[in-house]
Point group: C2
DNA sequence: GAGCTGTTTTTGTGATCACAAAAACCGATG
DNA sequence: CATCGGTTTTTGTGATCACAAAAACAGCTC
């Protein structure tokens, strides 16, 4: 009976590899950001289930930071939590999608309108470059790359609006739509490049505010109308 | 001091008062909702600091659910977290307040517009009743009651819009403005009852959509314009 | 062979603990 | 009297554990 009653057992101090030095930015933030970009970029399909222990294993942290990250994403609508606490990416109803599309239109038209007077040449050229990257993603039939670069186009423009709270709300909507957009563009297999993006650039160049508002509204609305099929 | 040398003895199982039976809805939700309504209703001034252990003591839970609730509120912008992890109610800059006011106008005009075709007589009468309660709160110089009933007026109307995602975003904005509204109305000491609320009710009764949009926009904007003083 | 029941595994929840860093405190010194 | 130094206290962070409930699985009966 060598180890009959291991009295201490109380070894709660694990490695402790000295987490200081270097701005690790708190482990749960790493998990939060990792999951957030994955969801927003459409790397996860709708109704994809996640487990806290699985997340912890993947990001090499314990359950505590994983839970905080998940809670935060649930609060933002990026994940849905069942009554038993299980979390999964949302499977949106048609009414919900239409409502989120209306929200996108409302917010993004305003953001674009505010960005217009501050849009200089360098910004417009950057937007055109991004448009080229989007065309590449479409040519490669890479849905994730398409979603990511498409959002980058919009964010680049809206950053000029100098309206951080409004942009944050906008990104929350994108987050909620992430898995749905993946499912949508995944089965859509579009081959044309976004026509409205060119209209946006043209309106910016011309300083045409009504044209810009219409182009943004059309771009935001068009993709999400196809799901009625 | 007083080296008790507390023998751990490994007794991690506390009372465990059988949390089953009854839908306790998970302890952190109780904390979240409690803090959320307190912040939204303006019971806390701006820059009011909170501690996890203090929250846990107040709601009679441990630090874990308190942390989750705080994380969630931070994600929604209801609390701000310093780099060292301390949390406090936000002290908004003037630009931020103006931006949030613009967001309120954008969202609430749309919500009111969507609610208009569904607004029946019972709703209009309910709104008038709430207006009476608001007048009482003003008479009693009760800032918290004023904020609470004022938000109730708006929420009652917007619920008819059948747009839950939009209403949720709207409430997030209210949440961020809670402490600021307390500070504002606290030192304002207004005695007149809200003129635009009557305009909203009148426009609803007349089915006048442009009038409704203008009235809502004015009501939302007016209060927050005074802070330039 | 299909359906149901009892068991086993998985999973979320909340409490506790050790630790690091920030904050508060407090005394000594110029 | 103010300021600086060190010490003590407070506070957030993350890991771990026990437990309950849900899910998965197995075995048994009809």
């Amino acid at each position: 009976m060598q180890d009959q009653s291991p009295p201490p057992a109380h070894k709660p101090v694990p490695p402790l590899v000295s987490p200081r030095s270097e701005n690790v930015s708190s482990a749960h933030d790493k998990v939060y950001r990792g999951l957030r970009t994955r969801i927003m970029h459409g790397e996860l399909p709708p109704a994809h289930a996640l487990t806290l222990r699985g997340i912890g294993r993947e990001f090499d942290v314990s359950m505590t930071p994983a839970r905080e990250a998940v809670q935060r994403l649930v609060a933002e609508g990026a994940l849905f939590m069942s009554s038993s606490g299980r979390v999964a990416t949302p499977e949106l109803s048609n009414e919900r999608i239409e409502e989120l599309a209306a929200l996108r239109a409302l917010l993004e038209v305003e953001l674009a309108s505010r960005a217009l007077p501050r849009a200089h040449m360098a910004l417009i050229e950057r937007l055109q470059t991004i448009n080229g990257t989007i065309a590449e993603a479409i040519a490669h039939k890479d849905a994730v790359a398409y979603i990511r670069t498409n959002l980058e186009f919009h964010r680049t423009l809206y950053l000029r609006a100098q309206a951080p709270a409004m942009l944050a709300m906008c990104e929350t909507v994108w987050l909620q739509l992430g898995p749905t957009m993946r499912a949508l563009y995944g089965r859509l297999q579009r081959t044309e490049l976004p026509q409205f993006h060119r209209a946006i650039v043209a309106a910016l160049r011309a300083g045409d505010e009504p044209g810009l508002r219409l182009a943004v509204r059309s771009d935001v609305t068009q993709g999400l109308k196809l799901l009625a099929s």
